[in-house]
Structures are given as C-alpha cells and as structure tokens.
C-alpha cells in the first residue's frame, strides 16, 4: 500500500485544482474577510474565521478523495490496478490516506497566516489540539466523498462535491457564525456534521475543552458515511 500512497501523494501535490481548493483559497479568503467588513480587526473574528477556513480547506481536500476515485474509475486506471497484485481495498485506503496527508500542510498554513498577519496567539496545547482536531475530524468527510464518488453518476459527482464543500461548510458556520443565521437554518446547522466538526476547534481556540457531544455527533455521521461508502464500494468494485 505504501508505494501507492506515495504515487497518490505525488499526484495530489502536482494537482493545481486540489492545491487551489485546499490551500490558496482558504488562505486568500481568510486574509480577505479578516481585513474588510465590519468585523475586520476583531481578534475574536480572526480566531473564529481561522478555524473556519482551515476547516474548509481540510473538508474540501478530504471530500475530493472520492472525486479522485471516480475520475480514476472513468479513465480506466482502477481497471489497470485491478490486474496488479494490489487489492482494491488498499487502493481505496491509499487514496483516502493520501488526501488526509495532503491537507495537513494547508491546515497549518492557514494557522500560520492567522498568527503572522493578525497576530493570533494561542497556547501550544491549543495549537496542537486545534490542528489535530481539524485534521482527524476531516476523515468523515473523506468517507462522504467516497460515498458520493461511488454512488453518483460521473456527471453529478462534480456538483455534489461542490455542494459537499460549500453547502456543508456554510451550514456549519465556517463562513459566517451560526448565531447570525435565521431560526430554521440555525436548527439545521446544529445537526450538520460540519458544525460539530468546527465547534470542536472553536471550543479549543477560545480556551474551552472540546465537547463530547460534538465528537459524538461527528462519529455518528462518520458511521453513516462509512456504511454508505461501503455499500457503494461493494456495488462498484465488481464493475472496475
């Protein structure tokens, strides 16, 4: 599996689209929306939006593992891999691992930008916990990406991925605080996996312990995505 992980990592690091979504865009939006508008210069907003944008990059990068897999299937690369001794399950595991590894630098860079440009200062444990939670917490979204990649038609994969990235991050309060949403949307937000994902790190960033309830909801979503992805895998693996 390791050689394939290496190959996948090389592909990702040379993929401009992937780097744009996971690194360039989150940093650019972070710097933009913390420098203009009424909340510009607010220390709390600089911290809040740092978590939002680092989380968005991680989310986008994790979800795109499924898109990559769908592309590999349509170009026939997965068929090619099937006639090597590498088992299909390891191909999938390597693909997800590669995306998980590749989002880590992007995540750190958003934090570096926050510390460098807006002077965000946190305790060492906070930085470690925050980056760790944003990183590990992105795994359920990789499973969501796989579920979409397996079950959606090649044409609808793109729009669904887009909804996954933007819709869910918006709903989770990663672009605007959930408290500014109208009532119904707030209620929906509190069910969304992205809200609980980001809230773990918001708690840490504002000096609180991450809530067990957030972790529990995220794990439940992860289990659901895993089941759907597994069903999709069983259905499509034969057609490779």
């Amino acid at each position: 599996m390791l050689p394939y992980l290496r190959l996948e990592l090389m592909r990702l690091l040379r993929d401009r689209r992937f780097l744009a979504f996971t690194t360039v865009m989150p940093i650019a939006y972070y710097l933009l929306f913390t420098s203009i508008g009424s909340s510009a210069g607010s220390a709390a907003w600089s911290v809040y939006f740092m978590v939002g944008m680092a989380g968005f990059g991680a989310l986008a990068g994790a979800v795109s593992a499924g898109g990559g897999l769908a592309t590999d299937r349509s170009i026939g690369w997965l068929r090619q891999l099937r006639i090597t001794p590498l088992p299909s399950s390891q191909v999938v595991a390597a693909k997800v691992s590669a995306n998980m590894v590749a989002i880590l630098p992007a995540l750190v860079l958003v934090c570096v930008a926050a510390a460098g440009v807006h002077g965000v200062r946190l305790a060492a444990w906070q930085w470690v916990a925050l980056v760790g939670l944003l990183w590990a917490g992105a795994l359920p979204f990789a499973l969501l990406g796989l579920a979409i990649g397996y079950l959606a038609s090649p044409l609808s994969t793109g729009p669904l991925m887009g909804f996954g990235m933007f819709g869910l991050s918006l709903l989770g309060g990663m672009w605007f605080p959930v408290t500014t949403f109208p009532g119904v949307m707030q209620t929906i937000s509190h069910v969304a996996p992205t809200y609980h994902y980001a809230n773990l790190s918001w708690n840490v960033a504002f000096g609180q312990a991450p809530a067990v309830s957030d972790a529990a909801v995220l794990v439940a979503w992860a289990a659901l995505f895993a089941i759907i992805a597994m069903l999709g895998y069983r259905r499509t693996s034969r057609a490779w």
Binding site: R6, R14, D72, G76, Q80
Partner: protein
C-alpha cells in the same frame, strides 16, 4: 469447425485453460461455449473481427469478469489467485493512466507491487521508453502512452503477458519497436497472448493463431495451417475494361474482389470457375490461380460459421 482444423499439440504444461466458457451481457452472448488451451511458453494470437468476444475472453482470463458457465484456469489456479500472486501482466484496451506522474515514477510503482519485478532499465528498454522516463504521462502522445501501458504490463516480469489490441494507435515505428521488445520477452520462455484484428500481425508474430468469431473458436493453428484450412482457391485476372456483370454467378465463386483493373474471385471449385469464365468471356488476360491468403481463410472461416449458425 474446430474438429476439421488442425490443432497444434497442446503442451504438457498449460498456462491458460478455458473450458466451455460462456458469458452473456443481457441478451448478447459475447462468449459462447469457448474452449481454449494455451501452453507455457507459447505466443498465441487471438484473431477475430470486432465484437467477436476477444476482450470479454481476456477479461475472464484476468478475473475482471466472471464467466456465466464453464471454468477459467490460469496456471491451474483461478485468475484472481494468479493476479494476486503477480504472475500475470496485462495491457487492456481501456486501461487508463493517472495524470500528474512521470513515466519513471509510474514504473517504479508498478515494480514495487510485484514480487519478482524486472529491473527498471530492462522495462524501459523493452518498452522503448528510455528517452521518455522523465516525462509526465499526461504530456505523452497516444502511441507513447500505449508504450507506457506496455511497460506497466511488463514491470512485474510476469510469467504470462496478455495484451488486448496492443498496437492500436501506434505508428509504424512504434509498432516495429513494440514487436521487437515482445519477441525478446517471449524468447525467455514467457507465455504471450495477444488479441488483434490485424491478420499480418497475427501471422508474423504468433506461433499459433486462434480464430474467434461470434464468441467461439473456429480455427486454431499456425498461419500456414489456417490458410490451408480455408481450402478454396483464388482466380484472378485483368478486367481490361470488360464488365463485372455475371462474375458472382459463376460456378464455385464465393466472393468477388476488385482492385483497380484486377479481379480476384474466391472460389470453391477453381476448375469450374475458370471453365465458365473462358466460356462466357472468350478470353481473359493475365489469368492466375493461387492459394488463399490468410485474409481469405479468415473470411471463409467466419462466413462458414455464420452460415452454420443460420442453417
């Protein structure tokens, strides 16, 4: 059918064995009770028109498709087992290559997943990729990509190499280089099976040609044996401005071909054809009588099969 066709002695150790294999896609019977045995060290061409079932047969040999009926054995084991053991390398018609990687990186990866891989230099040399090793796969031409796919099939130094229409999209130069590499590989005692619809390629490169049509084997033997099996003969002459009218109705004639001013009549009864030709036309220029080409044999074999089917 198969019983009237000379079969080469089937070697003691078989590399591939298909026994009464059938595979349907909905209503379409892509492979129909196909029997085939390929010995270790043989180079065999699977020759057939498009839609004859070549790719489906190969898909079952590689474990990509499961047969509806019958058994497929490779080195006496299931296809999935030999693929997992790294004993098979294959070049598929629709096998794609990932973007963003260099040729050398892709080959290094392929080598790493096989237990007894070939040295990188050897892979590059046989596939004719020495000068392209540092290139990104997505920047290559169609023919060059085809060579990369060939390199991937080779990298594991497999005992059996299966190639589905390997030279499609290659220019003359690439094609020549490809077959030179292939012969070097086969000379080491490796087993090689390739599907093609190019008759010359099958005739020139394979020890044995297996003709497939409508999902089953209609002939198997060397190129020369297959030509003989078609029996019929070819009567050719110069048209010299005379009409084509009536040629198809001559006794024995199965097919009329015109190349410029030259006419080729494929016939089952050359004596009757020539006698009738002279009787009707008085004189014909440059009359020639010859044996069938591999192509004539091929056409005859597939036609006979269709006639048998509809009878």
């Amino acid at each position: 059918m198969a019983d009237t066709v000379p079969f080469m002695d089937v070697p003691l150790t078989t590399a591939i064995e298909l026994d009464a294999v059938t595979k349907c896609f909905g209503e379409v019977r892509a492979v129909d009770s196909l029997n085939l045995a390929i010995g270790r060290g043989e180079t065999v061409a699977l020759l057939g028109p498009n839609g004859a079932g070549k790719s489906t047969t190969i898909g079952m040999m590689l474990g990509l498709l499961a047969p509806d009926r019958g058994t497929v054995k490779v080195f006496n084991r299931s296809p999935a087992q030999v693929v997992a053991a790294g004993m098979v390398g294959a070049m598929l018609q629709d096998g794609g290559l990932p973007g963003g990687v260099k040729v050398s990186e892709l080959i290094a990866f392929a080598r790493s997943v096989y237990p007894r891989s070939m040295p990188t230099r050897g892979v590059l040399a046989i596939a004719g990729l020495e000068e392209l090793a540092g290139q990104r796969v997505d920047k290559l031409s169609g023919g060059q990509r085809q060579r990369v796919r060939f390199a991937l099939a080779l990298a594991g130094n497999p005992d059996l190499l299966v190639l589905d229409e390997p030279t499609v999209g290659m220019d003359v130069e690439s094609r020549r280089a490809f077959w030179a590499g292939m012969r070097a590989y086969a000379a080491d005692g490796h087993t090689l099976l390739f599907a093609t619809h190019y008759l010359e390629e099958a005739d020139a490169q394979a020890d044995r040609v297996v003709v497939i049509t409508r999902g089953h084997v209609v002939a198997s033997g060397s190129g020369a044996e297959i030509k003989r099996s078609a029996r019929g003969q070819v009567v050719s002459f110069d048209l010299d401005g005379t009409s084509l009218f009536g040629l198809e109705g001559l006794p024995g004639v199965v097919e009329v071909e015109v190349h410029g001013q030259r006419v080729r009549l494929r016939t089952n009864d050359a004596d009757a054809t020539v006698a009738a030709l002279i009787r009707e036309r008085g004189m014909v220029r440059n009359l020639q009588l010859g044996g069938p080409s591999l192509e004539d044999a091929f056409v005859a074999l597939t036609e006979n099969d269709e006639a048998k089917e509809s009878a």
